[in-house]
């Protein structure tokens, strides 16, 4: 819908019809005002150069996007007062004056010439101050952008116990800085471009030259260049537009609000895509295992992390299969349930009105409603939802004779398990697939579940993310990368980068390691 597929000239935005800046200042100001629809936040200030009443200069900026003190001190201050004696009694050449102002007067680091009105608008609306000199057919943009932002705050959705707490914020530059501060390597390259015909959103592609695969970098740029859309408001737009395969419930692009996990990804040879206006940074190629890993895995001891990872795999399976297994076992395979358990389940079911499948469907559906409501509710009435939730999925539903107690346990277990997965988008896709699995279980029992699992695995294996098989290092099996998939081996064992997007393979100097090992062995001999 957003894609502008038919580029007929009549529906082109006005700003696309480029026009060089007029030599007449008043004409320019009039055009800008007209094009911006006399918007109230446009500030236009005309003034004379210090002591030279014959020279009029126009200053245009958008209120709120620039640094007020900088405008006053370094632009107005420099031009109106400090030049008091410079031009006295001299005949002034306009081109000379323009260059002089640009080179010697403005004490601002970034000053650019304007190419035309499109360029003028781009700078103006990005928060630069525009300087136009009367009777001179050119203008300059002074970069004094500053606006209110949230600042670097704590992570809100990807929390850890141990590890850095700071999260990305909405400003692109802050975000790239957060990563730059972690990797002080000249090879950390950033390429910025603007996407969005109207929003002109800054998109930064970041990678470590020499570590990231050139083909992946090229592919990222190619896909970004192919985007034609009027607006990019969040990295989700980019994610959807550049992912390998659209028809899949699984995310094939990783996102994170944590600078440390993006830095770690870059060091592994991945490519990060920053989007201005969102704290969520994208990273490719993304593998299935990545969504089950938390950055904390590398900060805690290896054995703890391995255990937690195994737990996550189990809970992933649980959140996918527990309701469908319950349905299959209780309606088709009663012989597989131990007798005492069967008796207790059967006695619970005596008074429940719905078949197990419908019961499970109602409960899972209710839970999804609760979860969604919990996110959308205003904070002030947040506690109401937990009270009501406990009534709907809980004792009261059982006492009302609508639901069997075992089903409450099943649904609660599924709900808790699905929140163990560190990546929310993976957790939610698993939650979605759960429903077809329940349907399969209700119609074919375990046979249906196995059939569904086979299809699921086949689908997962067919996916890829920027040329890297999604299920690596399981399928294809990469022996070296098993060290960081289900297991997390100790840091001193992680000698190579992930195999699939490596350039510079070694992470640690093996010759050095060899020496230290020898040294310790020798030490051992002595003692």
């Amino acid at each position: 819908m957003f894609k502008l597929k038919n580029k007929s000239p009549d529906n082109k935005p006005i700003s696309q019809q480029d026009h060089p800046v007029y030599p007449d200042l008043q004409k320019n100001i009039h055009k800008v005002k007209h094009d911006l629809g006399e918007s109230s936040d446009l500030v236009v200030r005309t003034f004379h150069l210090a002591g030279q009443t014959q020279i009029t200069i126009g200053l245009l900026y958008i209120d709120g996007l620039i640094d007020q003190t900088a405008v006053q001190e370094f632009v107005l201050g420099s031009l109106m007062t400090k030049l008091q004696n410079t031009f006295k009694d001299k005949k002034i050449n306009k081109q000379h004056l323009y260059d002089f102002i640009k080179e010697s007067v403005l004490t601002i680091s970034s000053v650019k010439d304007l190419q035309g009105f499109n360029d003028l608008y781009a700078h103006l609306l990005s928060g630069d101050a525009i300087l136009l000199i009367d009777e001179h057919p050119n203008g300059m943009a002074a970069g004094i952008r500053a606006w209110e932002d949230r600042g670097v705050t704590e992570t809100s959705s990807q929390n850890v116990i141990r590890g850095p707490k700071e999260a990305f914020s909405e400003t692109l530059r802050t975000n790239t800085t957060l990563v730059r501060r972690r990797i002080k390597d000249p090879n950390l390259w950033i390429k910025t471009q603007q996407i969005g015909e109207r929003t002109k959103t800054d998109i930064a592609v970041m990678y470590i030259k020499g570590v990231a695969d050139e083909n992946v970098i090229k592919e990222v740029h190619r896909r970004l260049d192919n985007i034609e859309i009027d607006a990019i408001l969040e990295s989700g737009y980019i994610e959807e537009l550049i992912q390998d395969k659209t028809l899949t419930p699984f995310p094939t692009i990783f996102n994170s609000e944590r600078p440390d996990s993006i830095a770690a990804g870059l060091l592994e040879g991945r490519v990060a895509i920053f989007v201005d206006g969102t704290p969520f940074v994208l990273m490719v190629p993304a593998l299935f295992v990545q969504f089950l890993q938390s950055s904390e895995d590398y900060y805690q001891r290896a054995d703890i992390s391995t255990l937690l990872r195994i737990l996550r795999y189990i809970t992933l399976l649980m959140s996918l299969l527990v309701p469908s297994m319950y349905i299959a076992l209780t309606t088709f395979h009663q012989e597989m349930i131990p007798t005492p358990l069967l008796i207790s389940l059967a006695s619970q079911r005596e008074a429940t009105p719905f078949p197990a499948f419908i019961e499970a469907l109602i409960m899972e559906f209710t839970f999804e409603i609760l979860r969604e409501a919990g996110i959308r509710l205003p904070k002030a009435i947040g506690s109401a939802i937990s009270i009501v939730g406990a009534l709907v999925i809980g004792e009261s539903a059982v006492q009302a004779g609508l639901i069997s107690p075992a089903m409450v346990i099943v649904v609660s277990l599924t709900a808790i398990s699905s929140f163990v997965t560190p990546a929310f988008n993976m957790a939610i896709s698993i939650r979605m697939i759960r429903f077809p699995f329940m349907l399969l279980a209700a119609s074919f029992g375990l046979y249906g579940i196995i059939g569904g699992l086979i299809l699921l695995v086949m689908h997962l294996c067919s996916l890829s993310s920027f040329g890297v098989p999604y299920m690596a290092p399981f399928g294809p099996h990469v022996k070296q990368d098993q060290k960081d998939a289900i297991l997390r081996v100790p840091q001193w064992k992680m000698i190579t980068r992930p195999h699939l997007f490596k350039r510079e393979t070694e992470r640690q100097d093996q010759t050095n390691r060899h020496h230290s090992k020898m040294r310790s062995q020798r030490k051992g001999e002595r003692t």
């Binding site: 012989e335 007798t339 069967l342 006695s347 399969l440």
Partner: protein, 392 residues
């Protein structure tokens, strides 16, 4: 495109229209926990099934309704009788959780082979239920007895059978696989544990049985029932039953006492290992039974200085002798009284001396009672317990 859409729609409908044909909700199941087969007066099968009432068993607020219900039906064939039960039972009978299978005594005497086919053939039944024979009773009567400790009567039988085999030794858990194996293997005959009602069967069928402290009627496991082919031909006594289990290497633990000067010393025997070897002597088979194991003194009544190893060896020797006598009488008794090769001597011969077995197989019934048996017992006393001399 249209064809594609049609295929998609059909595929989507397939799981919905299949109608889950064999789907059964738990509350539609009648869980059969025990079954008894008897002969009706007219020669038909009389089937008794014991259904569980889950809501009574698992309920936190039990009423005084019974936890299990029995239903009966007769039929020319087993399946006919079972399907006839549907006229009296409101639920679909579900046999996968069958625990106990009881033959009435008369039924067993007339032969059980024909009645077993259904239970082995049907896919719903598992093969891990235990088979028993009702002693001096019909199977139906056994299933009618209410049990006080266990809410599920069949679980009572199942539990005591398992516990008793592990710790006392005269009983034997037999699954349908074991039973058929014994019936079908030449030179091997089956045994089943017996079960009887001790006390007043009439009171046992009422709730009075679960209300009194002293139970009016108790279900009790008895000694082993000996079959020849598929017919019940007689019973072993308790000592013979224990002997039988020892010879066939089925004892995990048992208890045995010997006389000492003025009382008795009781041993707990464990790690019993039995090895049977066969020899042909003068064209006659001879079985060599060797039993080894360990014993702990668990109960000592007489004043005997156990610090003196001679005394310990003396007790050990008596124990060995007693066991030897027990085993010899077991084999002798079986050979003379019952003439049924429950020990599987024939099968052992077949494995060790196949040529000889082929000669004797047709007249094994005459050869078996004459088979000579040599028993050696080597049980060693390991521990004396936490005190040495008995306090007197």
């Amino acid at each position: 495109m249209k064809a594609k859409q049609l295929v998609a729609i059909l595929l989507f409908c397939a799981p919905l229209l299949s109608g889950c044909w064999d789907k059964v909700e738990l509350n539609e199941l009648g869980i059969v926990n025990a079954i008894a087969i008897d002969k009706a007066n007219n020669g038909d099968y009389l089937i008794t099934v014991q259904l569980l009432s889950p809501s009574e068993i698992a309920s936190q607020y039990p009423s005084n309704r019974v936890t299990a219900i029995t239903y009966q039906a007769t039929g020319k064939t087993i399946l006919e009788a079972i399907r006839k039960l549907s006229t009296s039972v409101s639920r679909r009978l579900y046999f996968a959780h069958l625990r106990i299978f009881i033959f009435g005594e008369t039924m067993a005497q007339e032969g059980i082979r024909k009645s077993l086919d259904f239970f082995y053939r049907d896919h719903e039944l598992r093969t891990d239920f235990y088979l028993l024979v009702a002693k001096h009773s019909t199977g139906a009567n056994i299933l009618h007895i209410l049990t006080p400790l266990e809410k599920i009567p069949a679980n009572k039988i199942y539990g005591s059978l398992k516990y008793s085999q592990d710790n006392w030794a005269p009983t034997r858990t037999v699954t349908i696989d074991d039973l058929l194996d014994c019936i079908l293997t030449p030179g091997k005959e089956p045994v089943l544990t017996g079960i009887e009602i001790e006390g007043n069967p009439r009171l046992g069928k009422t709730t009075e049985n679960i209300e009194r402290m002293q139970i009016p009627a108790v279900l009790k496991l008895t000694d082993l029932a000996v079959f020849k082919r598929d017919r019940l031909i007689g019973w072993l006594n308790e000592s013979e039953s224990k002997g039988y289990n020892k010879i066939t290497n089925h004892v995990a633990q048992t208890v045995e006492y010997v006389n000492c000067r003025e009382g008795k010393a009781t041993f707990e025997i464990s790690n019993l290992q039995t090895k049977i070897k066969s020899k042909i002597v003068h064209n006659k088979p001879m079985m060599d039974i060797h039993v080894s194991g360990a014993a702990d003194i668990d109960d000592m009544e007489c004043k005997l200085d156990l610090n003196n190893f001679k005394n310990v060896y003396m007790l050990e020797d008596r124990l060995n002798k007693k066991l030897k006598t027990m085993l010899v009488t077991t084999v002798k008794g079986t050979q003379e009284r019952l003439n049924s090769d429950i020990f599987g001597f024939g099968d052992i011969l077949y494995h060790h001396h196949p040529h000889y077995w082929r000669q004797v197989e047709p007249r094994w019934d005459e050869t078996f009672p004459e088979t000579k048996v040599q028993v050696t017992v080597d049980i060693q006393v390991r521990r004396l317990g936490t005190i040495i001399e008995s306090f007197q």
